[in-house]
């Protein structure tokens, strides 16, 4: 996967850190200090289609499909998360209990083209 840098236009992962102190949430969220709300952005031209993590075999299959069904019939592919992990939170709930929760698939680690 690729991390977006500068003016990269191809499908990549944009890092975005939400600091809980900056948004005034540090009083009720004990840990962690922030949330890596990374997201996927960028273009997926046809030749990039089907490369979540550069799976060569799948890529070839997709290319053959496109050739077989002539390229203009193929739809655009899109830049989506291909690897995610949970966000572990330690926070006070409404009754001021301390709760630890793992929210699945909240942090995007890698992006790829569908």
């Amino acid at each position: 996967s690729i991390d977006c840098s500068g003016d990269s236009r191809m499908c990549c992962r944009k890092e975005f850190f939400v600091d809980f102190k900056e948004i005034g949430w540090e009083d009720w969220i004990i840990q962690p200090e922030g949330y890596h709300m990374n997201y996927c952005a960028g273009l997926c031209p046809l030749h990039m289609a089907g490369i979540p993590g550069l799976a060569a075999s799948f890529h070839t299959a997709v290319l053959n499909l496109i050739k077989a069904n002539n390229a203009d019939a193929a739809v655009d592919s899109c830049c989506v998360p291909t690897q995610r992990r949970p966000l572990s939170l330690l926070y006070y709930d409404r009754d001021s209990n301390i709760v630890k929760t793992d929210i699945p698939d909240m942090i995007v680690d890698a992006c790829g083209c569908t």
Binding site: W28, I30, Y35, R85, L89, R94, S96
Partner: protein, 218 residues
Amino acid sequence: APEAVWCPACGLSALAPTTQRDALIALAKQSILSKLHLPARPNVTQPMPRGALLTALRRTRVRPVDTALPSGIPRGGGGGSGPHLRSSTSRSVRLHFHFARELAGSNEILQATLHLFWAVPGPGTHPVTVRLLQPDPTGLNTTVASETRLEVQRDGWATLDVGRAVQSLFGQGSRRLTVELEVAEDWGSPLLAIHSDSHRPFVAAQARARTPHRVQRR
């Protein structure tokens, strides 16, 4: 723009940076609250002091086997490759890189890169602060020349540009670069692999002999 390829995150790039940031923060808040099934952020009436709470949590957490560095660490070689370990406390370790005399002499450093091999203690993101220290004019203390905060997620090599720091050291006549790594308490020692030669930190520098100034005669 109509001809732009549509996809969920592309619209963001068309926004002005501040609007984009506000949109993302609003999205993050909404996403976390909805996943926690909270209609709004809870209003905490009497939170515990944060420090006391974190200390208590640390005590409840099973501490990993202390990964103190083995005592018999081979001393680092010269030539700016092997580090000397010194004054390492449980939270931080200092690496000293000594550059060979011929490198520090009449050469111009074109670039210098510090290579570190991380051995993370477990899943998740581990913050590390890397400080480049340089001797102060008296040579008795060190001052922080630069500080970089890294989020280490997996084992592997990481590189850091130390070119400017090495150039300024040589400019001051020093041949020693000191790097301080600071990690969270429960990481133990960040460079577990430091004692295996194949994973020791090193600095790769590219230098060019300073050609004597040729006086251009007209």
